[in-house]
Subunit: 331 residues, 2 copies
């Protein structure tokens, strides 16, 4: 059994049993994903999907919608947090226009997969048509098919998307809406209460329960594209690195469609955005980092990458008790 | 004020206020240590101090004492966890014989600062003389004076040293002994109970309260050498990176002698060894990682290094709202 062989390899390393904690379960997990006792991470990539949300018309974000495209420009110029962290770890970064409400000048580094100029306002009508939702997912899957590596991290940018993610969480996990709605990019308490009311009314309006219907009705182009990309990445046996609240909301959809995808997921961190911890518990996930991050962009994925590498490295490079001639426990 | 300037620099970066969580406080902290709004980490080094403990005669460890020197050989051969993680992060590693009960063949990579062939058994007599304790501290300070970088992480190896550290914790924090004694390298419940009894009797025997007396009576050569090294590192305004239970026990001594040293400390992780969380709370410390590690060797320091680098990098490399032409919050 591969699982037993992995555990034996981990236990024979020159360290007290279990003393590398979560790195040991991570090494085991990656070994299972790659079906080997000597896993390797090749060319990790982070895909940042950007999209706009019609629901911003309901004033659910403290930032204007233009910040979505302005931050895409910032990604392209290399000035955002995810640029800094991806550079630090030698990680490829792709910025994907999944559906930003802006015409970008074509240029290297921007992957144009625009499905539309932002979704519709789900307070009054479904955010996407079923066709748009399927198209976004298919484009996400295609993008993953074009990657050369075996690790893909997911990030996103989209003013209003914590509102979409909260609606998805509520409908897909059954958690009370109050536990799903947080401050996002920085709403005050009154703003959060308003955001909750907006979602509450919309949920009452649209009678949807099937995961794809929920996604089309409340999601975003970037969320649907991530969902498609996650499905494709798991099919290709890649390590699927999950970021914060929005990315995990895409995974909630995927987990309902194809629960086996969870076997390929590594959870980079627990965000400070209200709801993320509950989402992770719902998925049975143990996050690697707990740094109080709530930025998105895939920043948690980039920060967790060295831990994935450390897990693989100790498994492949550490000496065993036998090879190092180190005594074991007294009998 | 430097602190205000640092906070302003952090807040002007293109991200929601506070959204990088602990990385923001870390960047602020390192800026204060280096007295600049543009801190930089130069040539981080991890020093692993090895020493033996006479108290192993009381059967407080499941491993034979020989494992101390065998693991030193493993460090020198590059096969231990700390070697793997230090290599991964391009971090200098120095292995210091502070007082191992073994004659090593001289060789490159082994720093010989041996104070003795292991301490005495504190169950019957003080572990060190006052002179040995001072000598160990002085040698630690000297070692730090020879470093070229501005970040130093501390690690240790010594069969029996979790027993010494538990005694230090009990006497220096006042925590009940039951909260200070853990499984170390893997004692079972009966073994932990025995370990506690050994310390209990020794504490009743030796009437010491001053930090240096406590250190000399119950500590180890590697613990005393780390304490001296920490004092010197803080004097040189270096970032002092703290590992797990044993390393933090050395810091407990230092914090009593010179509390300002804490201003230079970054706490890499919270260990699974019982007592470490309480130690950290006693020091008002917030650890970066919580991975269930309990290995020592400075492994937590090495794993936390990329987070220190990320903190410095975002502060120095991220665009500001002005420079990236990104809109701020709506008025």
């Amino acid at each position: 059994m591969l699982s037993d062989a992995l555990q034996a390899a981990i236990d024979n390393k020159t360290k007290p049993l279990g003393s590398l904690g979560m790195l040991e379960s991570l090494a085991h997990w990656i070994g299972l994903i790659q079906r080997t006792v000597r896993p390797a991470l090749r060319q990790p990539a982070i895909l940042v999907f950007a999209g706009d949300h019609g629901v911003v018309a309901e004033k659910v974000s403290p930032y204007p919608q233009d910040v979505t495209w302005q931050m895409v420009e910032n990604f392209l110029a290399g000035g955002a947090a995810i640029n800094v962290f991806a550079r630090q770890h030698g990680c490829t970064l792709q910025v994907v226009d999944a559906g930003v409400n802006h015409d970008f000048a074509a240029r290297a580094g921007l992957v144009d997969r625009k499905v539309g100029y932002g979704t519709r306002n789900f307070a009054s009508e479904p955010a996407m048509t079923a066709e748009q939702c399927v198209l976004a997912m298919a484009r996400g899957a295609e993008l993953v098919a074009g990657l050369n590596g075996n690790v893909v991290g997911f990030g996103e940018m989209g003013i209003g998307n914590s509102t979409a993610a909260a609606a998805l969480m509520h409908l897909l996990t059954g958690a009370p809406l109050a536990d799903c709605v947080g401050a996002g990019a920085g709403m005050d308490a009154a703003g959060v209460a308003h955001k909750r009311e907006v979602i509450e009314r919309a949920v009452a309006k649209h009678d949807v329960t099937a995961p794809l219907d929920v996604l089309a009705t409340f999601g975003g182009f970037e969320i649907a594209m991530m969902a498609g990309a996650m499905l494709a990445a798991a099919e290709r046996r890649m390590v699927v690195l999950i970021d914060g609240f929005i990315v995990t909301s895409a995974l909630l959809v995927v987990a309902r469609l194809q629960p086996a995808v969870l076997d390929y997921c590594v959870f980079s961190h627990c965000s400070d955005e209200r709801g993320h911890r509950t989402m992770l518990e719902h998925l049975g996930a143990r996050p690697l980092l707990q740094l109080g991050l709530r930025l998105g962009e895939g920043s948690g994925c980039a920060l967790a990458l060295p831990l994935l590498q450390a897990a693989v490295n100790f498994l492949c490079e550490m000496a065993t008790f036998e090879s190092a001639l180190v005594s074991g426990k007294d009998a």
